[in-house]
Symmetry: C2
């Protein structure tokens, strides 16, 4: 298939998914809270694409959710070329993605993160993942969550789950604290085995995330929490911020390549605390 | 002077200053709040020095202050050698320093930061600085603050103030936000002109900080603040965190060389917020 058609299909899917997930979240809020949408351009003087981020705040269930869609293109600066596959000889790139971070009112509902993306330099690849960050140990939830992810991966390739789970654990880790950010999930990158199959998998990861966050919320939303539980959540969010600002590649990449600051940092929680 | 004696003198001064500043803070809290001190060792199995950090929280004036003293030594890893002056040929290092960050209850009192350090590889140098981060524009305070710093610098060398002020503005800057962290002050590094004079200057910077923070607090502590002012402060602290985790060299250096996490991250405010 023509690569321009591939890009268009991928981009359109990310847009549709953004819309679907925002609708789902608003319906969980019973329509009483709505997303606020902001469109942005990467470069004021030149057409280098842009995106649309949507934020909902102060809901009954969701304390803050950012749902970010972007489609950007241009040339990598010299500084970046050697870091990006296929960019050494040809610095032109095209990238589109959707990323979502959810911070919850109820400390018994984990913070949840999802992202899928397609990048094209001299060749194209997919990346993405799902991972969740509970504040409290919850073996039952953890088992259920991983089994849902596994089911979804197994539909595509029996090797995906264990491979991408390992990658996720390795990636979402705070070396200075010697602790994981959350309880993992899946993480994959540089995926370019078979475009049709890869895109199919990427779509399924999005659908799976939509199902998983809804199911977790339905399971957990009635649990009462104390002020002390909320404090625990604020501290856990402090760690989340440490990870995102100290280590997250996407955050660094975005900030260093002139991405939209609000869209990149929408992942940060509304309130966090430190000892 | 023998370099071992130099190290001892510097280290002892930093310890004395830690004690003096903690006493000053406790006296501003009228003795109703006390610092909690924690001693730490860099390496459990080997003598590589360590330090003592002191934290006071929930005072009438101070919401959280960390006062960190350290004296560490060892060998730079291969990864670090090329980044440190004088470490390429001889990876052994010795470093001692004091660093202080103050987060205030009253949003009309700026957050304040001070640090001085002495590092010895195949040669020794001093570094340090003072800078403050108000939440609101306050021309009068800013003018007074910079003139106090200037007076102190001018006692040593008429060129210091303008040189170190520029360095400070350049250093404490958030490129992704295109905004400074605060209103600056002074910042200096690799200072190895004349050991006696440099040490004299470094001591004076410490004394100046002690006088400045006290004077600012006395000037400002009676100003009433609203809930909205406090919210502004929480947001400003969000930027402070972004700077410290994304850009601060000391934070990165400390975390990557196995420094004490609590001592390094004591600079983070107790609560912060993001939009």
């Amino acid at each position: 298939m023509n690569k321009e058609i591939q890009k268009k299909l991928v981009k359109n899917w990310f847009k549709i998914l953004q819309e679907m997930i925002c609708k789902e979240i608003e319906s969980l809020e019973k329509g009483k809270r709505k997303f606020i949408s902001t469109k942005w351009s990467k470069n004021k003087n030149k057409n280098e694409g842009g995106g649309e981020y949507r934020i909902i705040k102060n809901g009954k269930i969701f304390e803050k959710v950012g749902v970010n869609f972007s489609e950007v293109y241009g040339k990598f600066s010299k500084k970046f070329r050697h870091k990006i596959p296929g960019a050494k000889t040809n610095p032109n790139f095209w990238a589109s993605g959707i990323s979502i971070v959810m911070h919850m009112q109820n400390p018994h509902i984990p913070a949840m993160h999802f992202n899928t993306r397609y990048i094209y330099t001299s060749h194209g690849w997919f990346g993405g993942g799902i991972d969740i960050t509970p504040c409290f140990k919850d073996k039952k939830l953890s088992k259920w969550f991983h089994s849902e992810i596994k089911k979804s991966c197994d539909r595509h390739n029996k090797k995906y789950y264990s491979r991408y789970k390992k990658w996720c654990n390795k990636y979402f880790y705070l070396p200075h604290r010697k602790e994981p950010r959350g309880i993992g999930g899946i993480f994959f990158d540089y995926k370019k085995d078979n475009w049709e199959k890869d895109f199919n998998f990427v779509r399924d990861v999005g659908i799976t995330f939509k199902k998983i966050f809804r199911d977790i919320i339905i399971k957990k939303k009635k649990i009462k929490w104390t002020k002390k539980d909320k404090e625990t959540q604020y501290k856990k969010r402090g760690r989340y911020i440490e990870f995102n600002l100290l280590y997250d590649r996407g955050t660094k990449f975005g900030l260093q390549t002139g991405g939209n600051v609000e869209a990149i940092l929408m992942s940060l929680p509304p309130i966090a605390k430190w000892n």
